[in-house]
């Protein structure tokens, strides 16, 4: 059984239908990335999957007892509430101190347990969010543009952490991303969204799909070719190098 599935899911926001009849399922252990232009309903889709937004039609089916680790797109934590990193990781479920320090060590933040959340840098903050999502041993990790606001080395480091966490815990990963080159290199499956699912499949299949090209233009062909150049072994050979970097 899939971990989570959207069946003919439509979601309305502010009187407009943002998502139309979306079907998708996430299997254990796979990395699925949702790409799409701004306003294509990516965050809405995640919101509906975590239960924050009601379905107008269709439904979301979760495997019973599914543990989800969620990394939100933005978290506006200001200094009004005093909150240490360790305390934040114990929300909403209390975690023993050794579990907290292990989670922090896993994301490279050992020793920061006592730091106030409001004093973290952008990169540290995103890592703490990831640590919090991982601490409940989730079977499914849902990330909404986890690298927003990070510089390129920071982005690369965070994606590496996500990849490592996947290998270590075997959790499936569903994320929204703007970084097409990362998407193409790290995902098992890509879902291209524009109010509805325009195309879906392995990165190379989606990259070659006319719907995807129509949305992202030919500029992304370069990134795609780059990916293939590095990782062409053993994936999908049905689509040979038709585009070299421009």
């Amino acid at each position: 059984m899939s971990l989570i599935a959207a069946e003919n899911l439509s979601v309305r926001r502010g009187g407009a239908t943002v998502l139309h009849a979306v079907n998708l399922r996430i299997e254990p252990g796979e990395i699925v990335t949702v790409v799409g232009p701004n306003g294509s309903g990516k965050s809405t889709l995640l919101g509906a999957l975590i239960g924050a937004l009601p379905a107008a039609t269709g439904r979301v089916v979760r495997r019973p007892g599914l543990a989800v680790g969620y990394v939100p797109q933005r978290l506006a934590l200001d200094a009004r509430m005093p909150m240490s990193v360790a305390r934040f990781l114990s929300l909403p479920h209390r975690r023993p101190a050794d579990e907290v320090s292990a989670a922090l060590a896993r994301v490279g933040l050992a020793g920061l347990a006592g730091r106030q959340m409001a004093r973290l840098s952008g990169g540290q903050f995103q890592r703490v969010l990831l640590a919090r999502a991982l601490i409940g041993r989730p079977q499914l990790l849902i990330l909404d543009e986890p690298t927003q606001g990070l510089d390129q080395p920071g982005e690369a480091a965070l994606y590496r952490l996500i990849e490592e966490a996947r290998i270590e815990t075997g959790a499936a990963v569903l994320m929204v991303s703007h970084d097409l080159h990362v998407v193409m290199s790290a995902s098992d499956r890509v879902i291209c969204l524009n109010g509805h699912v325009c195309c879906e499949g392995t990165p190379s299949v989606v990259g070659a799909a006319p719907e995807y090209r129509a949305l992202f233009g030919i500029g992304t062909g370069g990134a795609l070719a780059l990916y293939r150049h590095d990782h062409d072994h053993g994936h999908d050979h049905a689509h040979p190098h038709e585009s070299e970097p421009v």
């Binding site: 989800v68 969620y70 934590l77 009004r80 509430m81 005093p82 929300l91 909403p92 849902i142």
Partner: protein, 264 residues
């Protein structure tokens, strides 16, 4: 011991601080100051209704404050500009309460006791309501503490963990109505919001965690009660406002640099 009006006043103030401390922290964290004000102002209408129906004032204020708080929450949920909705409701309820009291047949009501509090006239029965109400508020907030904190940080994080933020907001709404009913005799409808916000804001300077902030807010609220009663006794000032003045003094002191809550 309870025969001494000062002891009763101190106990009433302490009970109020006990409820207002933790709830006040949420008021500060969630920017609900105006919400607290509106709920408290509506309590005057509750006083009028209670007197008209010979119910205990505690229940009248709790009921009307509760209805008010629910109405505000519903309006805010519908996307009415929260600021405007609160402004309309708060002042309409206060004015309606003042008008309604004037209609009460044959009752001469000292309204200032409910507007500014009358802590020196607290009876044993009042004490029972105050401590019972405070205990209920503490139990409610303590029971939902983890979920309330999570929902306050982020509704998305809460949803993803299976917490319904609307339910947590309802818990706070209920706690707010009870606290208003607890505090009206102590500081009066016009200054209840001050008892919620000022001790919590002062506690922020001392605390490095949400639990510590709630505990400090109770302690500082208690200190403000003691200070205010002392001031009232020495200088013959009105007790309720004196308590708020003392709290404001504590807040100013909490702005001192180098306090634990201001370090990384």
């Amino acid at each position: 011991m309870l025969d001494d009006f000062l002891i009763r006043a101190a106990l009433a103030g302490l009970g109020t601080a006990l409820a207002a401390g933790p709830l006040g922290c949420f008021v500060v964290w969630r920017r609900m100051a105006y919400f607290g004000d509106a709920t408290a102002h509506a309590a005057i209408l509750g006083v009028a209704l209670a007197l008209a129906t010979s119910l205990p004032v505690f229940w009248g204020t709790a009921a009307v404050a509760g209805v008010m708080a629910l109405a505000i929450t519903a309006l805010a949920g519908r996307g009415v500009a929260a600021d405007t909705a609160l402004g309309v409701l708060a002042h309409s309820a206060l004015a309606l309460g003042l008008v309604a009291v004037a209609f009460l047949p044959g009752v001469r009501v000292d309204l200032s006791a409910y507007l500014f509090g009358d802590i020196l006239a607290v009876s044993r029965a009042d004490l029972g309501f105050i401590w019972g109400g405070a205990a209920a508020v503490l139990a409610l907030i303590g029971w939902r503490w983890q979920a309330l904190l999570t929902a306050t940080l982020s509704t998305d994080l809460a949803q993803a963990s299976g917490i319904d933020p609307r339910r947590e907001r309802l818990v706070l709404t209920l706690a707010m109505a009870l606290t208003v009913a607890v505090a009206i005799k102590v500081v009066g409808a016009l200054l209840i919001a001050a008892m919620l916000i000022i001790p919590a804001a002062a506690a922020r300077g001392l605390a490095r965690g949400p639990e510590a902030m709630a505990i400090f807010a109770v302690a500082l609220g208690g200190l403000a009660v003691a200070g205010g009663l002392g001031l009232s006794l020495l200088a013959d000032t009105p007790a309720g406002p004196s308590i708020v003045v003392a709290a404001a003094g504590l807040f100013v002191a909490s702005l001192a640099p180098g306090l634990p809550g201001r370090r990384g």
